[in-house]
Symmetry: C2
Amino acid sequence: MRVKVHITLKDGVLDPQGRAISRSLHSMDFRSVQEVRQGKYIELELDETSIIQARKHVTEMCKQLLANLVIENYSIEIDGE
Amino acid sequence: MRVKVHITLKDGVLDPQGRAISRSLHSMDFRSVQEVRQGKYIELELDETSIIQARKHVTEMCKQLLANLVIENYSIEIDGE
């Protein structure tokens, strides 16, 4: 079962990588860029048959390892859900 | 206009970050994990009115800066498209 996880910085948390990208794009003449935020995208292949179990396990993975809940949000998408 | 970009490693390209996550999850007893691939997720806020122009510009941004086309793929999603 394929699971897609997005880890993004919470609103208000400074994003130096996003700002660096934004500045580079401006210096390359992409003037329509107003804001850039960079996050992580993680694809997991799981040996699970139950979507409910898969979501439960991936939620635990996010809480325990993948996301830093102080500054990051996570969202989980499961194929076929 | 909000644009979402996913940058992922091409198939066959070694993903040390993904492997590190996979090993950590196994050591934490998440035994159903078979494979993990880590990519980047970039959200852009653009001052554009035309979706066609926005896609054209973001495609150029991916080619020129955001993705390393030798080892990475990119995909672009535009809200309202």
